[in-house]
């Protein structure tokens, strides 16, 4: 009965590869987010979707492309991975985009 789940939890890949991270929430929320936590533990918003519509798009390289097939799912696809993409990526969800955000367990991405 996990509220916000992410797969995979760990991802190790080579530079230049393309990879995806999936997120699902069963809280009935209509807004989902991607955050990036860098090596110094700093967390920053990347994207937000509300009812499948992109609402927040921070300054993120266009190699990162979020996709929301429905309001319970938000995936993150990353093309041409670079060393600097190594980080922990967190998915989160909230109700109506104005309430407490609940986080998934995070995906640790390591680019070699």
């Amino acid at each position: 009965d996990t509220a916000v789940s992410q797969t995979p939890k760990y991802l190790v890949t080579q530079m230049g590869n393309d990879k995806s991270i999936k997120c699902e929430q069963n809280l009935g929320h209509d807004t989902m987010y991607w955050y990036k936590q860098d090596s110094k533990k700093f967390l920053k918003i990347m994207f937000s979707y509300n009812n499948k519509e992109l609402i927040i798009n921070e300054t993120v390289p266009n190699r990162f492309s979020p996709k929301s097939p429905d309001k319970a799912h938000l995936n993150l696809h990353i093309n041409s991975l670079e060393l600097g993409d190594s980080a922990v990526y967190f998915c989160a969800s909230s109700n109506q985009g104005r309430d407490t955000q609940y986080f998934g367990p995070g995906t640790r991405l390591t680019v070699l």
């Binding site: 955050y35 110094k40 967390l43 979707y49 609402i55 985009g97």
Partner: protein, 117 residues
């Protein structure tokens, strides 16, 4: 733009003692929420407590309470009767309540809390 400052990179407290983590923020907004999240070694981000800016009363959740000083833009977290399981990174976060349909969290840099025997 909003900024959140946590001036204590690391803190230590003995089991059963009380510790206070500091957070200040800068905003021109009047309608917002403030949060404390905890990140234990498991990496999971766990909500500790939430404070609505329009509420004068300080939020409490069991052993966790805040001291919210709106005029001073200060939002400290007090942990009473500290337990070993409280060992974690603690993040202060600000959320402006926008008129749009999504509000982002702006995080501080975190305070690493170690609870010792």
């Amino acid at each position: 733009a909003q900024t959140v400052t946590q001036s204590q990179p690391e803190m230590s407290v003995q089991e059963a003692e009380t510790v206070t983590l500091s957070c200040t923020y800068d905003t021109s907004e009047s309608n917002y929420y403030l949060f404390w999240y905890k990140q234990p070694p498991s990496r999971q981000m766990i909500l500790v407590i939430r404070q609505e800016a329009y509420k004068q009363q300080n939020a409490t959740e069991n052993r966790f309470s805040v001291n919210f000083q709106k005029a001073a833009k200060s939002f400290s977290l007090k942990i009473s009767d500290s337990q070993l399981g409280d060992t974690a990174m603690y993040f202060c976060a600000f959320m402006k309540l926008s008129t749009g349909t999504a509000s982002k969290l702006t995080f501080g840099t975190g305070t690493r809390l170690q609870v010792t025997l």
